[in-house]
């Protein structure tokens, strides 16, 4: 990790952690937008983090951004900052001025759409910005706002460069969710290890039982796989642009989806009854894992795309294709 990235991650982590652990997660479930957290992150310029410096942004790499999204995921940060970062990056790339505040991505089931003044839509290479005129509230299994929006006439429009491609929105969201999954998995692994060392049964910490150790070790492998897959995907975007990073993003979302399933199940098994309770923090992360594996394309959908491509290219090309993508 570069030094700059390390500092950024630390700053954001402090902001999110200072917001009060799971308290803001409960608040947002109750309908309150954690404005202070949003403002704090915005003051760091995060919303424009992926906008190039020459366009008035921070000019972070996608690798840096993915590291930040991982931190947001690690804390389940209940703000649409990752989505807004993506929206701003696309708007800027299409030559559209980025408005202040929350950006909603798309129209149906838009993350935190009720809190957005503007929404970004992509049709082919044509990116449009719309005022949000109404929101029919919904939620995913993570109890995060996912709203169907009523959008007004476009207030601005632009054409995304070829480097972004017609699926820039979906691919960007997939990478965001994969990174958040990596963070949330890291978190529940740490929580589970801590619990295993604390909770005693049969006169000793349950972490001394080999069955618990073996499960958590297997989970650690999954967590590592997701982290690497996410880094690899972000690096591919930096090297070749979103349009040409579909393979790596897809791989990341596939591995993230599989790991989310396995990791959530393992953590709950280790925590047993207490982990099932509303009062415990675990479910804020496991519910998000279950939700995020579905958003930005399921692991099934992405696997299908990757597999189709591999089948079309044939066995002799699989390895050369894989290595040819090295950055």
């Amino acid at each position: 990790m570069s030094e700059l990235r390390g500092i950024l991650v630390e700053q954001v982590e402090r902001l999110v952690a200072d917001a009060g652990g799971v308290a803001p997660l409960r608040e947002v479930e109750a309908g309150t937008f954690p404005q202070a957290l949003w403002d704090g992150l915005s003051e760091q310029g995060l919303a424009l983090a992926l906008v190039p410096e020459e366009a008035g942004g921070v000019g972070l790499s996608w690798g840096d951004a993915a590291a930040l999204w991982q931190v947001l995921g690690k804390h389940g940060a209940p703000v649409p900052m990752a989505e807004t970062m993506l929206g701003a990056a696309l708007l800027s790339a299409a030559g559209v001025e980025v408005p202040d505040g929350v950006l909603a991505l798309g129209e149906k089931g838009a993350p935190f759409g009720r809190h957005a003044a503007h929404a970004v839509k992509l049709d082919g290479a044509r990116l449009t910005l719309h005022p949000v005129e109404g929101a029919s509230p919904g939620a995913n299994i993570g109890r995060e706002p996912r709203d169907d929006l009523a959008l007004g006439q476009r207030s601005a429009a632009g054409i995304l460069p070829n480097s972004h491609g017609p699926r820039a929105l979906r691919q960007g969201l997939a990478l965001i969710r994969a990174a958040q999954i990596a963070g949330a998995l890291e978190r529940i692994l740490a929580l589970a290890v801590d619990w295993a060392n604390t909770r005693k049964q049969f006169g000793r910490p349950i972490g001394k039982f080999q069955a618990v150790q073996q499960q958590l070790a297997a989970m650690a492998g999954e967590v590592a796989a997701v982290q690497v897959a996410v880094s690899n995907a972000a690096r591919a975007v930096d090297a070749r642009g979103l349009a040409e990073a579909g393979f790596e993003i897809g791989c990341a979302k596939v591995v993230a989806g599989e790991a989310a399933t396995f990791g959530a199940a393992t953590a709950h098994q280790v925590f047993a009854a207490i982990g099932i309770t509303e009062d415990h923090e675990l479910h804020h992360f496991t519910r998000r894992l279950w939700a995020w594996r579905e958003e930005g394309g399921t692991d099934r959908a992405w696997a299908g795309e990757i597999g189709k491509l591999a089948l079309a290219r044939g066995g002799a090309n699989l390895w050369p294709d894989l290595t040819a993508r090295d950055a």
Binding site: D299, L311, G315
Partner: protein, 378 residues
């Protein structure tokens, strides 16, 4: 636990091209069984050819027959060899473990005596670890070397020693003094370079269930070792042996063992389309990509001189699961009657090999115990 993807070393592309041209030619003679065994296949002629091209011990100093190339370039060679299912067993251990050990801890004499031969693909090594009563529990080793005038006298028995009957040397981990009462059970072990032609050594091949004779039982009966056959420090054998584990556990040999079946499976599925197969294929490819990233990350850390012991264990654990599942995934897509004969033969061979993947180099249970301990579970 941290994984950072390294940058691709300069020249990697050219190196890959060279390797692929070489392997395209060499692979014509390989049966499905050879491809399935890959680094469990022993072919001195092939290893000599690989050595002649500078692809063994390639990170070592020129003075010892190396090429002074980077560890990441070496990984390019390993990857390409395994992706092709090359029979690299005759030089694999020397390149991966024994050579680096001697380079790092051996005497100058040992280096000059041994390393150039490994690099040429002429000296084959085996690793003498397990004993009848010491499998996962290596501290229980009983083979012992006693100091005698002019050297050491070796007695005992090693088992499951891969390719001992075909190798020139063994690096043996043996007891040189009893474990101290109340101290570490791993104290008092030392590593020796054992010339397998010495008298007093008898080697009994043990056939495996697939009909191959890669395993051996090696008995030492008053084998006289020279003073200079001790590798590294007396009594430090355990630390020496385990310090190499990151190399042993993180390489592409921990996730590519079944790769040839995936490549052939894709062609079989093109010839005999199976509805919905793309999802399973995509999952395998995604895992492959992630595992390669994990393995390369550890490669980068090793190159930087870090000690990614746990990261390496994670590569092996996740990689072994993948290697073992891969043939089963293909079975779940293609019935035998829909598969070409070569894929059938490859899968039959792999089916009988896969159980070893989560045993060799540390069982799954031992690895996960190591990972758990590192996470603070104890």
């Amino acid at each position: 636990m941290r994984f950072d993807l390294p940058d691709t070393p300069p020249g990697a592309e050219a190196l890959r091209a060279e390797l692929r041209a070489f392997l395209a030619e060499a692979s014509r003679a390989w049966t499905p069984e050879i491809r399935a065994r890959s680094w469990m296949g022993f072919d001195r002629d092939f290893s000599r050819e690989v050595g002649a091209r500078g692809w063994i011990g390639m990170t070592w100093p020129m003075a010892y027959g190396g090429r002074e190339r980077s560890g990441l370039e070496r990984v390019v060679v390993l990857e390409e060899m395994l992706a092709a299912g090359a029979p690299v067993g005759a030089h694999w251990i020397g390149d991966r473990q024994s050579g680096p050990l001697i380079l790092r801890l051996g005497t100058e004499e040992q280096r000059r005596r041994i390393l150039p031969g490994i690099a040429r693909g002429e000296l084959a090594f085996c690793i003498g670890l397990s004993e009848p009563d010491a499998g996962s529990d290596l501290a229980n080793l009983r083979t012992k070397a006693e100091r005698v005038p002019g050297g050491w006298k070796l007695n005992g028995r090693k088992i499951w020693t891969t390719f001992a009957h075909k190798s020139d040397y063994m690096i043996a981990l043996v007891r040189t003094s009893p474990a101290p009462e109340g101290g570490s059970r791993h104290a008092g072990l030392s590593q020796f370079l054992v010339d397998l032609t010495l008298s007093g050594i008898s080697i009994r091949p043990i056939r495996d269930l697939a009909g191959a004779d890669s395993f051996n039982e090696v008995t030492f009966d008053d084998v006289m070792l020279k003073e200079d056959d001790l590798v590294g420090q007396e009594g430090a054998g355990w630390a020496q042996a385990t310090s190499e584990l990151a190399f042993e556990r993180s390489g592409p040999d921990r996730y590519l063992s079944s790769y040839p079946a995936l490549s052939q499976g894709l062609d079989a599925l093109a010839a005999h389309p199976v509805p919905g197969a793309e999802v399973t294929v995509g999952r395998m490819v995604a895992r492959l990509s992630a595992l390669r990233g994990m393995s390369l990350s550890v490669g980068g850390m090793l190159e930087r001189g870090e000690d990614p012991a746990v990261e390496a264990a994670l590569v092996k654990d996740v990689g072994n699961v993948f290697e073992q599942a891969l043939p089963e995934h293909l079975r779940g897509l293609l019935d035998p009657e829909d598969s070409p004969a070569e894929l059938r033969a490859l899968l039959a061979a792999l089916t009988q090999l896969t159980p070893t993947f989560s045993l060799r180099g540390g069982t799954r249970e031992i690895l996960r115990g190591i990972i758990a301990r590192d996470m603070g579970l104890r």
